[in-house]
Symmetry: C2
Subunit: 133 residues, 2 copies
DNA sequence: TCTTGCATTCAAGTATACTTGAAGTGTTAT
DNA sequence: ATAACACTTCAAGTATACTTGAATGCAAGA
């Protein structure tokens, strides 16, 4: 089964230029062409794009994705660097989540605070005061 | 109490150029100068920088911080937009945390997988196979 | 055949958030 | 006084991840 750039674009929500850009920087494997020089994508590209989607969610930079895919091509040689790469990403990601959770509770505090003020303004009563967090 | 750019820089881990940049774009209130034209920061700047720190953790863009601080100056007029701003950030942030948590479990899966391979290579036993997530 | 439309290349531009460089001024220690 | 260092301005550069524009090519339907 093969796919056009249009189909891939729709499938993954990526623009044509973005797909060509990924190919240009080697994030996608080379894409074959049909008689009219148009790109013909295969399952290989679908799988790679699924991996890219997942890594993007995990906030991996394009450079690290490139490393990852390079390592994966010769896993026996590169088991140490690839393991390190995913372990580091695991650490970064869990720290990031922790930071975001703290920030979320700050923001939620602010939501309650400004909502209290709005209610007080509407009811013409005294404003709540800011409780430090 | 007043502070030099050096003290503020150390306190918040921001470079001198970054502090001047924040001032230039109006993220910091205007900074007074001493006889030698050097910046003199006050508690007002410390408080603002603490707020900026918190918003940065919450992934607020500089543009939104600018909006926030502008709204805060006249809260009575701007209670609706400021409430909207923090509510939107709350929503975005919790969605972001959810995405990151899913991504984290993908990455943890990969860590276990590649660690299994490494162990198998060392023990010269069969490689584990990839279990799809 | 002609037009419409999708596809192509390649270079240049965009957004965000800073950083770096050059050149000069002011302050402090010896 | 003089060196060393901190601070100043202003413009230009950087990194990441794309996007946009201009010019051209091919292919299929009216």
């Amino acid at each position: 089964m093969t796919y056009t750039i249009q189909q891939i674009s729709t499938m993954f929500g990526l623009s044509h230029p973005t797909l060509r850009y990924y190919e240009e920087i080697g994030l996608l494997p080379p894409v074959a062409r049909n008689s009219g020089k148009q790109r013909v994508y295969t399952e290989e590209h679908i799988n790679r794009l699924r991996a890219i989607e997942c890594f993007k969610d995990a906030e991996l930079s394009i450079a690290k994705m490139q490393d990852f895919f390079r390592y994966e091509e010769n896993l026996t040689e590169n088991i140490d660097p690839i393991l390190l790469l995913v372990q580091e990403q695991e650490t970064e990601l869990s720290q990031r989540i922790e930071t975001l959770q703290k920030a979320l509770s700050h923001i939620q505090h602010k939501v309650r605070y400004y909502d209290g003020i709005k209610k007080a303004m509407e009811a013409n009563t005294a404003w709540p005061r800011w409780e430090d967090c």
